[in-house]
Subunit: 389 residues, 2 copies
Amino acid sequence: MDISHLLTPHSQQMESSLVRELLHYSQQSDILSLAGGLPDEAVMPAYPALNLLNDSRQYGASEGEGSLRKSIVSILAERGLVSSADNILVTNGSQQGLDLISRLILDSDSTILTEQPTYLAACQVFKLQGAHVQDVVSDEQGMCITALREAIDKYQPKAVYLIPNFQNPAGHCYSLERRKQIAALLDEKDILLIEDDPYRDLCYENVDLTPITTLIKSAPWLYMGSFSKVLWPGLRVGYTVSCGAFTPHLTKIKQAADLHTNRLGQNMIEYFLESGQYPEHVKKLRVVYKEKCDRMTGALNKYLNGVVEFTPPTGGMFFWVKLPEGVSSMLVLDEALKEKILVLPGVPFFPCKNPLEDSYLRLSFARVSPAEIDRAISILSSVIRRLMP
Amino acid sequence: MDISHLLTPHSQQMESSLVRELLHYSQQSDILSLAGGLPDEAVMPAYPALNLLNDSRQYGASEGEGSLRKSIVSILAERGLVSSADNILVTNGSQQGLDLISRLILDSDSTILTEQPTYLAACQVFKLQGAHVQDVVSDEQGMCITALREAIDKYQPKAVYLIPNFQNPAGHCYSLERRKQIAALLDEKDILLIEDDPYRDLCYENVDLTPITTLIKSAPWLYMGSFSKVLWPGLRVGYTVSCGAFTPHLTKIKQAADLHTNRLGQNMIEYFLESGQYPEHVKKLRVVYKEKCDRMTGALNKYLNGVVEFTPPTGGMFFWVKLPEGVSSMLVLDEALKEKILVLPGVPFFPCKNPLEDSYLRLSFARVSPAEIDRAISILSSVIRRLMP
């Protein structure tokens, strides 16, 4: 049945995500996947006892559970971000926060600026609203300040979307100096900051993690956090906090979208936070992931030294690996898959056409064992070398 | 901080839901609420044992859990609706199904036809897409066929949105004859049917419940179901099934919106369905709710005979009560609240201006006890009589 006449223009243009296309491979037991952004189940705590949670069966508040919102205020305070429970909106993962924000501020007359490269599912929601997504040159200290100023002047954007800590996919962590420069520029130009911070707890080195939001003096801001990378992604619980004026608008859209976030998941997380186990759990996560991160650095140096370029990340889940000239990331995907190794080409992370878009791989170390990392990179090395011109 | 320049035109126009405004009253312990559409916690089963459910911690599929989708296929087959797991999308309650469908097909160039009155949160999502929502005269057998034909010819709508079973708010259940006429007309005009069916299991009389979807021969269709009225609304699990061509598009929007529905809730429901307790549970629900429904009929006849007009519903949760001429439903709300009784005025259920929009109350009997029903209607009676001109 042809239904194309029923779809809106933006729905028709929506591209299928490469990640989604690849997902079914990662579910095959003989495939070793470096492709997803999935945390390691082995370090997820068991769910709290259920008899406590039977009071989450009824409909709940659109804003989220009051007790969880108070705990989030405390978590944010530790990051230097002063907020109140009234300005916290609990969402189905921070992905829904992005979606609700997009629906609130973006339409086909809007431009939003992003890093280059950036999180592909953010581009999806921005484009679904018909917005123009413009990337801005970024280096290892973060989005370049001159390029950002030029882009603001040229495009008069509605907002700037940033992932300052252990960026997805590039792995960068912004320097404090760059954070300050960006905050000052957004204040000067009165441009909305959308700060996405899901990876900050997965920190393996002593780096600055100051939310840019806390450095802003007068510009509007929205900040998103998630429990998916440190606790249970299957529960779909994240949150958005804002400078206040956004709260009633976001809550109305949340209510229209799905009434509220599942209460059982919210209460599971709240019980875990309240139990006092959270800080110890995060410490443990850092030890486990740092070992895997170091192992991937070692494997890339051992098997692909001088062939690929990369900077070991100081946190997060991803290596952003530049392939040798003339080697296509899409071809690497195909050839590696034949040997049961799944990698993610960098292509979908570039919102705008870019001559280098086919030159990167995003490799995740989070869900594979140290031994598997070694084996995967060794196979990947032979694939890449075979494809070199 | 003024952020109005940042909001899209449709976001700016979005009205706050009266239901949401009233929600904080219903949380006060001394208020007796007939306002919400909340099921009775007393008849919700306890959650299944949690040790079985720890495998739902990781990220999951955007389409939903495979096992649950198969169970939904069986549930739909009992309704005469032949489908396959591939065409089932699990959503955060059926509300999210409505939202995803709206985002797929509606924009500011679209018209969607609804019953008069209709579910207010459906209008919210339709209007958030900028669509024109046009209601069509409906009687106790359902949407009037002549009016529907005229509206289709006049507005060339993208779709028709119907709640044929125990409609919210009017409580009507469509006759089989009307179902057949509507299906034939939609086939003739090739208009998309969006059929919303959350209340069908709450059936207290022997009435026809044939999904209009199953009577359609060639027109496109989408059908939504929910577990919120019969199991645990706090889990936010519903589903959308479609004629197939919609599936890949809806799944892409679902993925962009929030990646997937919380897996713990999906698995809770799947374990309950698999346990074989579902048919017995539904039987029990019908007994409990039928008693309350009868009690409300009795109380309305006892205290408001000849003053208000209503037809006792044959299922669902709601009485749609017409007030005496000259009595404003908004005033009844205010005055009844002073006596700690919360009712829902019919105003927000009319998508288009209507001379009768302030003349109805929606009264829910689901969450109050039989004795409370009696007390509430007795107080309501004195309020209404006091306001009569």
